[in-house]
Subunit: 154 residues, 3 copies
Amino acid sequence: MLSIVVEHIFLLVIVTLISVLQNAFFATKVEREGKEHNNKTAFERVSCANRNCMDSYPTFLAVMWCAGLCLNQAPVAFAGIIYLVARQKYFVGYMGQTSQSTPGYLFGKRVLAFLILMCIVGIFNYLLLRYFGSDYKDTMEMITNAASALLLIP
Amino acid sequence: MLSIVVEHIFLLVIVTLISVLQNAFFATKVEREGKEHNNKTAFERVSCANRNCMDSYPTFLAVMWCAGLCLNQAPVAFAGIIYLVARQKYFVGYMGQTSQSTPGYLFGKRVLAFLILMCIVGIFNYLLLRYFGSDYKDTMEMITNAASALLLIP
Amino acid sequence: MLSIVVEHIFLLVIVTLISVLQNAFFATKVEREGKEHNNKTAFERVSCANRNCMDSYPTFLAVMWCAGLCLNQAPVAFAGIIYLVARQKYFVGYMGQTSQSTPGYLFGKRVLAFLILMCIVGIFNYLLLRYFGSDYKDTMEMITNAASALLLIP
């Protein structure tokens, strides 16, 4: 039974795994800075960056899995990868700056908005299928596959 | 295959989606307060409220999904909505107060307790079904549907 | 339909439930310390311990569920229990110390590494099954069952 399930989620699992490894990388950075007691500002900076990343992590996971379950895993996993790249950039940018101007609290807004949209589309499609019997899943998947490429535009 | 799964979880997905939108609302508040550098107390207050909400968010998601998968999605989704309302009240109440007395660290305790209870009932029911062959699922669902209405009592 | 699913995840649900109860225990500690205004250091200490635990909680949940879905729930649930014990020790150790030396930011690294490894093995096994038609699931499960016992070594 389970291999049928795994077939529909294995890309999501891979993206989750990569995000977990990234979390471990962030946490190691915090751990290392915390042990060097001579640099207070650097520790605060890396700790703040890590906390901001962790604050939005459950939201990202929830949206990604919902969108992946409701619609199609391929574009969702692709968007997830792009989110992870944006997060890496945010974290490195947060640490590297020595001036007071830090990047804001939020990042990856576009990717999250795209995932939320796909989630809504998936639910809507399911309700259409249930109450009206019309299935636009193939069309939806084609459109979302194409739309996910738009995320590459910087 | 997936549409069979979606049939059993689409209410949970909708509640998750609403909670994500609420998270985005909270994060936007923090972002906006962080940019106005003239008001330190307000930023700390909204940041603390956001952090307390985010701290309990994974717990809420985990309990809600477990309860929804093990038992029945309708009362669970209803309890989830009530939790989101309680969270909104908590957040607004945290920001609005100017005196030192803030609402405590915890909120929505009753809803979470109800969800944990439903989760235990679901697991218990599954074990009964597996080892004794007696299925009380219909009775359980009726009782939990009725019990979820009790959450409306303030 | 759902009882088939529950059969494959009920151990994971039980571990998740225990972790949620542990979270509630941690949060109650924070709540109680926050109300006693006379002890600032103790509150900071328990709040910091709680925050470190909560920071890694979504990561733990994500890895545990992925590994449980991809491979086999029994060793994964066992590793989850060991992680919860490690977390309890970490929390109590964080609170109890009065000297400046606190345990580090990370804990339960070995368990998380084991879960990540199992997740990778599960994905790899699925890909082998899909593209080469060779199924090593039984061997994998036997090995992971044996390997999970190694986690008990302190």
